[in-house]
């Protein structure tokens, strides 16, 4: 099996996992889930770091540094804000 095929298989399976995992979420959790998923795609940070480390012109470096900053805001802020939302659900347990 070629590498491209393997990647395609991974892509396909990941689609199913993504679909199935959230398909029964209650509406109460829509926003935190969206926010958490949003934080996860901040992992483009990894891509930004990779391109930054291979940047040799100042244009490339500038763009990728900007990408790193934005991606970091996404990933760090995303998880923190999600956690804050979820914190408020705690109260419910008591009752």
């Amino acid at each position: 099996m070629s590498e491209a095929m393997a990647l395609l298989a991974i892509f396909t399976l990941a689609i199913f996992v993504g679909f199935e995992v959230v398909s029964k979420v209650s509406s109460t959790l829509h926003t935190p889930l969206m926010s958490g998923a949003n934080a996860i795609h901040g992992i483009i940070l990894v891509g930004a770091i990779i391109v930054a480390s291979h940047s040799h012109t100042s244009l490339e470096l500038g763009l990728s540094i900007a990408a790193i900053i934005l991606a970091t805001i996404n990933v760090v802020g995303g998880f923190v804000v999600t956690d804050r939302m979820l914190e408020m659900f705690k109260g419910k347990k008591k009752s």
Binding site: A14, L29, H30, H41, H54, V80, L86
Partner: protein
């Protein structure tokens, strides 16, 4: 071997992301799920610093720049996330999504500059896709932010010739994409980026305020797909998995959210292309309404057998959750049957009311979901609407074409008396008039919800 080890850790990070989404889908494990996601992101980021190249060397040039940029991101992101008010979380999520899309687009632009003549068609396609969709996600999210923050109108914005404009824009994006793909060049790519940014704006402008969260969710899924595409170009399996997960779950989530709001997904998203004039009943008419004093309200409540409290966005604004609970406890102590009718999209995010009322330790069994509470309104003596508007607006049933048409609502008009606690006759989020305010059964108690409730509580005590 060492590379395999790092690959294994990358796989572990992917698994952590899956477990994060799984955890986030159930109330009990949601917080842990989020923590797992953060752990996954941490692991993934660490790996990339140590991942050895083909020949075993550590490949990170520009290390200082990279670490500095991360530091800047942390210094901006964490305080922003910490300090944002609860009522402004949705806009925050929109912003974070936007910057993520922007980052993906920037990464793709750099990738594109580096692409040699030998680049495969698939790689070029993935790069251009990321630039286009990342830019759309960026500018679209900014517009949703402006709408939610009420820095611009929350009502659908219909530009003159809007339909022609957006079709032209779309055609231009497609055309320029073809150009960019056939002959690699930086300037056409920047033109493409500009066109895509414009498209994002035109796409989101006609969306009515109430549908904005749906659009954020969709843009979120888009950003996920761009991350997956970047992963393909950079040969980073982790990015493929993580991006695809977000893309797929985001798509489902978008559909679920649209369903919960009773919206047609298609109509919401392609409003820009169809642009039926959404006629709303004009605001600010001069018609008689019945307003009452806190004492009037207290008396109505005191002699009821069953009271349903309908909380809305205004409760959150006024931070009146503790006061409403105090009042409900008083009524319960008098033997009155009290329930809270929770609309799935009351407030500004799904679950907003549950969160607020849980904060005030309202007994869980008093929180009744819309489907269950609706049949009981006919047996309800008083429906007390606290800072809600759209979620009880009968226009959702009666006025085809209005922005909330088709959304299921709480049927308060079935109960014997309706009390509205709000500050003015201004409409709610969707910007449309609520006929119920003029209903003869309705009593209005003007003022901030917390202040009004405090007065009602003391009136109740002195009865």
């Amino acid at each position: 071997m060492s590379r395999n080890l790092y690959d294994l850790m990358g796989l572990a990070a992917a698994v952590l992301f899956i477990l994060a989404l799984k955890g986030l889908s159930s109330p009990k494990s949601a917080r842990r799920g989020n923590a797992l996601g953060a752990l996954g992101a941490f692991v993934a980021t660490i790996i990339v610093f140590f991942y050895p190249g083909e020949k075993g060397e550590l490949p990170l040039d520009n290390l200082g720049w990279i670490l500095g940029a991360i530091a800047i991101g942390v210094v901006i992101g964490v305080p922003a996330a910490r300090m944002v008010k609860m009522t402004q979380m949705p806009q925050m999520v929109a912003l974070f999504n936007g910057v993520g899309g922007g980052a993906a687009a920037l990464v793709a632009i750099v990738e594109y500059i580096k692409l040699g003549e030998s680049a495969s068609f698939a790689a070029v396609l993935a790069t251009v896709f990321t630039v286009v969709v990342g830019c759309i996600s960026f500018s679209g999210s900014i517009v949703t932010f402006l709408k939610l923050q009420e820095l611009m109108t929350t009502r659908p914005v219909i530009l003159p010739f809007g339909r022609t404009l957006i079709f032209a824009n779309l055609a231009a994006v497609i055309g320029v994409s073809g150009w960019v793909m056939s002959e690699l060049g930086t300037s056409p790519l920047l033109i493409l980026a500009g066109l895509s940014l414009l498209f994002g704006v035109l796409f989101v402008l006609p969306v009515g305020g109430a549908d904005v969260p749906i659009v954020i969710s969709l843009l979120n899924a888009f950003t996920g797909l761009t991350v997956a595409a970047s992963g393909y170009v950079l040969e980073a399996t982790l990015l493929i998995v993580a991006g695809t997960l977000v893309g797929a779950s985001g798509t489902i989530l978008t559909r679920l959210m649209a369903e919960a709001m009773g919206r047609s997904l298609f109509g919401t998203l392609f409003g820009a292309f169809t642009q039926k004039a959404q006629d709303a009943t004009g605001t600010g008419e001069e018609r008689p309404v019945k307003s009452g004093s806190p004492e009037d309200v207290a008396i109505l409540l005191n002699y009821a057998r069953r009271v349903v409290i309908v909380p809305g966005f205004g409760l959150a604004v006024a931070q009146a959750q503790h006061t409403v609970r105090e009042m409900a406890d008083l009524l319960s102590a008098k033997g009155i049957d009290v329930a809270y009718g929770i609309h799935p999209v009351a407030g500004r995010m799904p679950g907003h009311m549950n969160v607020l009322l849980a904060e005030a330790n309202v007994p869980y069994e008093q929180l009744v979901e819309m489907e269950e509470v609706n049949p009981t309104f006919a047996q309800t003596d008083v429906a007390l609407v606290v800072g809600a508007n759209d979620v009880v607006n009968p226009a959702a049933k009666t006025t085809p074409g209005c922005p909330i048409y088709g959304m299921p609502i709480l049927d308060v008009q079935q109960s014997a008396n309706i009390i509205f606690l709000k500050r003015s006759m201004r409409p709610g989020f969707a910007g449309i008039e609520n006929e119920l305010l003029y209903d003869p059964k309705t009593t209005l108690l003007f003022g901030d919800a917390k202040a009004s409730l405090t007065k009602v509580v003391s009136a109740l005590k002195s009865l």
